[in-house]
């Protein structure tokens, strides 16, 4: 089995596990979504309305567990995640479609930028081990340990409230109609700068530390020493000999860390009232909107799995060994 097929199978299994967990959670702890609606209207809703609300939200459990499961999987494949109870009668999939682009563009771009800058800094720090970049390491560790949302609060206070260089909240200026015209796009970019800066500053240290450590280990390898002994220019030794090899574990680390970064970024969206999926998630949590929460969980999981798959493709592209195995098998 080739590397990519093996990874693909793995992600399918992971997606299936997430689906199945998502299916069983409400069934092991049942009744909450309906009860939260019942509790909202204690006077107007009779206990007999219970079944009706269940049917309305699509959470009524009829038939054997196996039938429910099949129906559930079929629904998911049709992007039918049920009906939101807090924004009834909006479909969960509609809400997801409205918010997902915001988050993917913001978090995706910022994460890739942070990864690239962090990796380059890590290469420099690893190469000049013990040099000036190493001296700022404790500071970077501190930066990395700050929760994203707290960092966002501080930046917001500094740049939006005190200095007023950036807008305080929202994804675009009020009064603009979203669409493909410059007014809207420039406003959206302007509003996303501070959240993007938060993600970059908060996550850059992690990538840098990781790359630095792998780089230090790689530099000790015989082939790097040999390349230096041959008298190759430093630039070439750093880039084609050391960094090229050190980047592989770094990429694998990216795959594993992306879920963590996304989670942090989601919470951060609240601070900026950014119209992304994180804000939607928090609104769903505060209003006990279970179908929405579950839909968001699935979508985030699939997005993270997809990001991992892309990273694997990049690994095959960068790593000649993986490519060679692709060709021979």
């Amino acid at each position: 089995m080739s590397f990519i097929v093996r990874r693909l199978v793995f992600y399918l299994v992971a997606a299936w596990v997430a689906l199945t967990i998502n299916f069983f959670i409400p069934r092991l702890i049942p009744g909450n979504a309906v009860e939260s609606i019942m509790a909202k209207f204690p006077n107007s809703l009779q206990p007999s309305a219970y079944r009706a609300i269940e049917a309305m939200l699509g959470v009524g459990h009829s038939g054997s567990i196996w039938h429910q499961y099949v129906a559930y999987v079929v629904d998911i494949f049709h992007f039918n995640f049920g009906t939101s109870s807090s924004e009834y009668p909006a479909q969960v999939s509609t809400l997801l479609g409205e918010t997902l682009p915001w988050t993917i563009i913001l978090v995706g771009t910022a994460t890739v930028i942070a990864f690239l800058i962090g990796t380059v800094l890590g290469i420099a720090a690893g190469w000049r081990h013990g040099g000036s970049l190493d001296r700022v390491l404790p500071g970077l560790m501190f930066l990395q340990a700050i929760p994203y949302f707290f960092f966002a609060l501080i930046l917001l206070e500094l740049f939006a409230v005190k200095l007023q260089v950036f807008p305080i909240a929202q994804g675009y200026s009020q009064g603009l109609v979203p669409g493909w015209h410059w007014d809207f796009i420039s406003s959206a970019i302007y509003h996303s700068l501070l959240p993007a800066l938060t993600i970059v500053l908060a996550s850059i240290a992690g990538w840098m530390l990781q790359m630095r450590n792998v780089m230090i280990t790689t530099i000790g390898e015989d082939y790097v020493v040999a390349a230096q002994a041959k008298g190759l220019p430093n630039r070439r030794v750093i880039i084609t000999y050391a960094a090229r090899n050190a980047i592989l574990p770094q990429l694998q680390g990216f795959g594993l860390a992306v879920g963590f970064v996304v989670s942090g970024a989601l919470i951060m969206e609240i601070v900026f009232s950014y119209p992304g999926i994180g804000l939607l998630l928090v609104n769903a949590v505060t209003s006990n909107d279970y179908p929405l929460m579950q839909g968001i969980f699935l979508v985030i999981t699939f997005a993270v799995l997809l990001a991992n798959l892309i990273v694997d493709l990049v690994i095959v592209f960068v790593d000649p060994r993986a490519r060679a195995r692709e060709a021979t098998r």
Binding site: A18, A145, P147, I154, N288, M293, T301, D312, R321
Partner: protein, 351 residues
């Protein structure tokens, strides 16, 4: 991990020390800072709640007590409802650290069990447990935590600890499995197997002791994860909001608009403490890492060897020293940092 107390600086004792330097001595500076900072927080967690100047929940009804800037009476000022921020912080450190440590213990125990079992049983068990580990490693934990806690009827400390532990073990399990696989075939394990030792005895007395530093690192990482996740969860309101943790402090500060009202003394201290705790744990972990992998240390001779100052003229003596050192934990760390997902992709790894 244990830290030996600093040895006395008596000059007559120097030769003896040089022969057998204490662990504290060998600890890199970053690690020392990490130990000291962590100790400060643990101390604050133990003593803090006993010395709080006020009841953290007491709401002072008088309007003059609301939103006071830091003063002698209220070292960190007061909240909008006149609660003392310092008292909340001291109680909050206790609750957050307590939660982190319990989750760390439980999740690390699960990680050791899963990792050692997978590596020891091998075959299908290993495939299955590794698959499970990798799947839970790749599924983003926070949204799952949110739905799990969202569905649970009460959101207090116990359910949070339970859910965080259930999702906190995969990282450790993966590292411990890899280490166990590496030690399993070493001679001393083979020897004890030949002498007829039972499997559990081999695991408890041959394998585990060789993984102590790895388990410690895994524990520290899990505590870090638990603190981060619990603070984030509390910040969005998925927690017992009547108790005082660093996360709930931030939740109340945010929801009562501390930022907009300019009450920096209200929301900065809890966030700063979370960040400092995180830094302490990361430093601690770096210390553990560097203890095992001399190459990562700075200011020692190793940096010169690994760095660009290496002179090709006479590299042999020092390099051979490194490759010797790489046999133990360092060798493992080396292999871990370079392999993982691409199983069997490291042709030079088995030397």
């Amino acid at each position: 991990m244990t830290v030996a107390p600093a040895v006395s600086a008596d000059p007559t004792a120097v030769p003896q020390e040089a022969a057998q330097p204490g662990r504290w001595r060998r600890m890199p500076t970053k690690g020392k800072v990490g130990v000291v900072l962590s100790a400060v927080f643990v101390l604050a967690a133990i003593i803090g709640p006993l010395v709080t100047p006020y009841d953290p929940s007491y709401q002072n009804p008088s309007p003059s007590a609301s939103m006071n800037a830091p003063s002698a009476a209220h070292l960190l000022g007061t909240t909008q409802s006149g609660q003392d921020v310092m008292s909340q912080l001291l109680v909050g450190i206790r609750l957050t650290l307590e939660l982190g440590i319990i989750v760390g213990l439980v999740a690390t125990a699960i990680a050791v069990i899963v990792g050692v079992t997978a590596a020891f049983l091998g075959g299908w068990w290993d495939e299955l447990l590794s698959l499970l580990t990798n799947v839970f490693l790749v599924i983003p934990a926070l949204p799952l935590l949110i739905i799990l806690l969202g569905y649970l009827p009460n959101k207090g400390e116990a359910p949070t600890i339970f859910v965080l532990s259930v999702l906190g073990w995969p990282w450790g399990a993966r590292v411990i499995r890899a280490q166990t696989l590496a030690i399993r075939n070493r001679d001393f394990v083979a020897a004890s197997r030949e002498t007829g030792e039972r499997t559990w005895r081999i695991i408890a007395f041959e394998i585990i002791p060789n993984e102590v530093s790895l388990i410690a690192a895994s524990f520290v990482n899990t505590v870090l994860y638990a603190i981060g996740a619990s603070v984030a969860l509390a910040f969005i309101g998925v927690a017992d909001l009547n108790s005082w943790s660093l996360g709930t402090m931030l939740y109340w500060a945010e929801s009562q608009q501390a930022l907009q009202l300019g009450a920096w003394w209200w929301f900065v201290p809890p966030g700063l403490v979370v960040a400092l705790m995180g830094t302490a744990l990361v430093l601690l972990n770096t210390g553990i890492d560097e203890l095992g992998n001399p190459r990562l240390r700075d200011a020692s001779s190793a940096s010169r060897i690994a760095g660009r100052w290496l002179k090709p003229a006479d590299p042999t003596p020092v390099l051979s020293e490194i490759s010797q050192r790489r046999n133990g934990l360092a060798g493992f760390l080396h292999s871990f940092s370079r392999s993982s997902l691409l199983e069997g992709a490291e042709p030079g790894e088995g030397r």
